[in-house]
């Protein structure tokens, strides 16, 4: 197998990693606060369509920001349903996903005149070469050429996220709301605002991640372009045991699994499989990883449970 292909596969894998990691980090904030958010996929969908619209009108930076804000606003529906009205988290998340698809069709008709896609050529941020790494020999350097700057942002985001969760008052309280809301309340801290914040951060990051997909990766909005990556992000979160650094490893694994069908279908063994079977690889990898690891991880103790304190406070 030529290393050139491997380099190109890594480059594609890094794009997918970024999508999965950003969305997964969002899910991490939500679940650490105690709210399961399987609506991540839907929040990403909103991010793709709003991001592409913002990108076409005001440029890529605006597109990414608008995607993030749209994700934030839409996630408040989930927060309202689960925190305030104490609807089952998965029910609400499923509804978010169903509604998001309809909403995206509606918005796409309004923005682009077609329910299913925008015209291609949404402007992007411009690509960068990573110093040193892009000079790697034998084609491997290609992996680090022509990258979206957002990929580096995603990696860098790990530091503030770890700091916020481990060292700040907000981070500690957020985690306590997800582990033991009764104790949190007993210490005089209100649970509901923390959970709203957790969900809002998840919406912001998922929306941003969706906008990254439409603006930076595809330069196009297309219905269904999220391909279940929001769910794969959830799988990465489970695999990563709800820790940011381990989530990064999970996102790398799933990101590269996504790249295999696109670039490595000529590799030995793989080339014997029909194209459609190679396309199944990311999904099979996800199922195997989840089934193999789920017994060995520990979700936040109170995740998915409504806090029944007075008025949900």
């Amino acid at each position: 197998m030529p290393l050139l292909d491997l380099g190109a596969a890594i480059a594609i894998g890094l794009s997918y990693f970024t999508i999965i990691y950003l969305t997964g980090l969002g899910g991490l904030f939500s679940e650490r606060s105690g709210i399961v958010n399987i609506g991540l996929e839907g929040l990403m969908v909103i991010g793709t369509v709003m991001g592409a619209w913002g990108g076409v009108r005001w440029g890529p930076v605006a597109g990414l920001l608008i995607g993030a804000v749209a994700g934030l606003l839409f996630s408040l529906v989930h927060a309202l349903a689960t925190v305030t009205f104490r609807v089952d988290h998965i029910v609400s998340g499923v509804v978010i996903n169903v509604v998001a698809v309809g909403m995206a069709r509606f918005l796409s008709t309004q923005f682009f005149g077609s329910a299913t896609q925008s015209t291609s050529g949404v402007p992007d941020l411009g690509k960068i070469d990573v110093p040193l790494l892009s000079a790697l020999p034998a084609g491997l350097g290609r992996a680090f050429e022509n990258l979206s700057p957002v990929v580096l942002v995603a990696f860098a985001l790990t530091f503030p996220v770890v700091f916020i969760l481990r060292r700040t008052r907000f981070g500690l309280r957020l985690r306590s709301a997800g582990e033991n809301p009764e104790a949190t309340r007993a210490l005089g801290v209100r649970v509901a605002p923390l959970r709203y914040a957790g969900v809002a951060i998840s919406g912001t990051l998922a929306g941003f991640s969706g906008a990254f997909l439409s603006v930076e990766v595809n330069q196009l909005y297309q219905e269904g372009q999220t391909q279940g990556l929001g769910f794969i992000a959830l799988a990465a979160l489970i695999l990563g045991n709800w820790s940011p650094t381990r989530l990064m490893l999970g996102a790398l694994l799933f990101g590269f699994a996504q790249a295999v069908p696109l670039r490595l279908d000529d590799a030995p063994v793989l080339s014997l499989l029909p194209e459609q079977f190679i396309r199944m690889i990311p999904y099979v990898v996800t199922i195997v990883a989840i089934a193999g690891f789920v017994g060995r991880v520990h979700p936040p103790a109170a995740v998915g449970k409504a806090y029944e304190g007075a008025g949900g406070a």
């Binding site: 349903a81 509804v95 169903v98 909403m103 008709t109 391909q227 990311p282 996800t286 199922i287």
Partner: protein, 382 residues
């Protein structure tokens, strides 16, 4: 101290529950209608005209209502599939993939078993569809029971695999040998594999043209509703399913095998999912092509939530969503509104209904708690 002479309970408890839920449903419908009306008004259209159009296009002629029932047919099956799993506390988000695989297995039987005598061919095709749905549901179900892998994530992944599997089957084993075809599709099915049209069986061809693909799968869907009701509320399995769904821990303590129950009901869910794509496959197209309908599994989630996971509610909700789908055609004719506005309305409706039911449940619960407390007070006083 509460009133010493407590009022005699005029109504049984279940009537309270049903009453609260009906009230909640009406409140949610009104709320969604109002918010939807505001959106429509922003487009300078009259909400009443729009809702009137949806109603007219769905009910004006018998063929319009037949179209609504055609739309509702797959939704009833997918709604039931989601609901039975939900009753055991599980989410079958994989109905989508299960019916795609069922279409592949049904096509295989329709094309491959055409040597069967005519009366056996269609049942064999239906059985093959059920088997396809069951097998595709079995994988996440077994993984859930054995390893604890959450079915929401695994079924979504199974959906992705199913899409590729169908594409592969269509390109290779099922591809028609007819030459000169641009479209990728299977062989045409023999008539004995097709689902007979309901109007022509009932002698209604004059009122309902052949372009309406209302088949015997619709009455069969209603039979499925009754069957699901019987299983859920009149059998031991149904009791166990509901016990597991309301509290897995208590069910286990009570001697119910949680994993076994979940596995069984998930397979039933997959079997129901097997029927979702059949109206299109056996009632309309007569072959497996690339233009099969997608998204019916996800629509089933909406149907199940709207119908409160009850078979009767599901039938009603499926007809309601069938009307909204039919109404989209009407809007294109009579207004300048984008047809997608009804998808927004549908989303609003689902959200309001889910929240309204939850509020109603809590109100009913609180009322019950108050009554129990009052009774205890009375007993203590006596």
């Amino acid at each position: 101290m509460t009133t010493a002479t407590a009022p005699v309970r005029a109504r049984p408890a279940w009537m309270d529950v049903v009453g609260t839920q009906v009230l909640a449903l009406i409140a949610a419908l009104v709320f969604a209608g109002l918010v939807g009306g505001i959106i429509i008004a922003l487009y300078d259209e009259s909400p009443l005209t729009v809702y009137g159009t949806v109603w007219d296009f769905s009910t004006a002629r018998s063929q319009d209502f037949a179209r609504v029932l055609e739309n509702a047919t797959p939704l009833i099956y997918s709604g039931l599939a989601v609901a039975v799993a939900f009753k055991a506390g599980m989410f079958n988000i994989g109905v989508e993939g299960q019916y795609l695989v069922a279409m592949v297995t049904a096509t295989t039987a329709a094309v491959g078993l055409d040597f069967l005598p005519a009366p056996l061919h269609l049942p064999a095709v239906l059985l093959a569809a059920v088997a396809g749905g069951v097998v595709w549901a079995a994988i996440p179900a077994i993984l859930k029971v054995r390893t604890g892998a959450h079915e929401v994530v695994t079924t979504i992944m199974m959906n992705g695999i199913a899409i590729s599997l169908l594409a592969w089957a269509l390109l290779n084993p099922l591809r028609t040998s007819e030459r000169g075809l641009v479209d990728l599709r299977s062989d045409r099915f023999a008539d004995s594999a097709l689902m007979p049209s309901l109007p022509s069986s009932l002698g209604l061809e004059d009122a309902i043209p052949a372009s309406v693909h209302l088949t015997w799968l619709f009455p069969l869907a209603l039979v499925a509703c009754v069957a699901v009701w019987v299983v859920l509320f009149r059998t031991r399995l149904g009791y166990e399913v509901r016990a597991v769904g309301s509290s897995a821990g208590s069910a286990e303590t009570g001697g119910i095998s949680v994993g076994g129950t979940q596995l069984k009901i998930f397979l039933i869910s997959g079997a129901l999912a097997g029927f979702v794509g059949l109206n299109h496959l056996l009632g309309e197209a007569g072959f497996l092509g690339q233009n099969y309908e997608t998204g019916l599994g996800f629509a089933g989630i909406a149907v199940a939530f709207l119908g409160r996971n009850h078979p009767a509610g599901i039938a009603v909700a499926a007809v309601l969503l069938g009307m909204l789908a039919r109404g989209q055609d009407g809007l294109a004719v009579t207004t300048d509104l984008p047809r997608e506005i009804l998808i927004i309305l549908e989303g609003l409706l689902i959200l309001s209904v889910v929240i309204a039911y939850e509020i109603a449940r809590r109100v009913a619960l609180r009322r019950r708690q108050r009554e129990v407390r009052a009774e205890e007070d009375r007993d203590a006083a006596a």
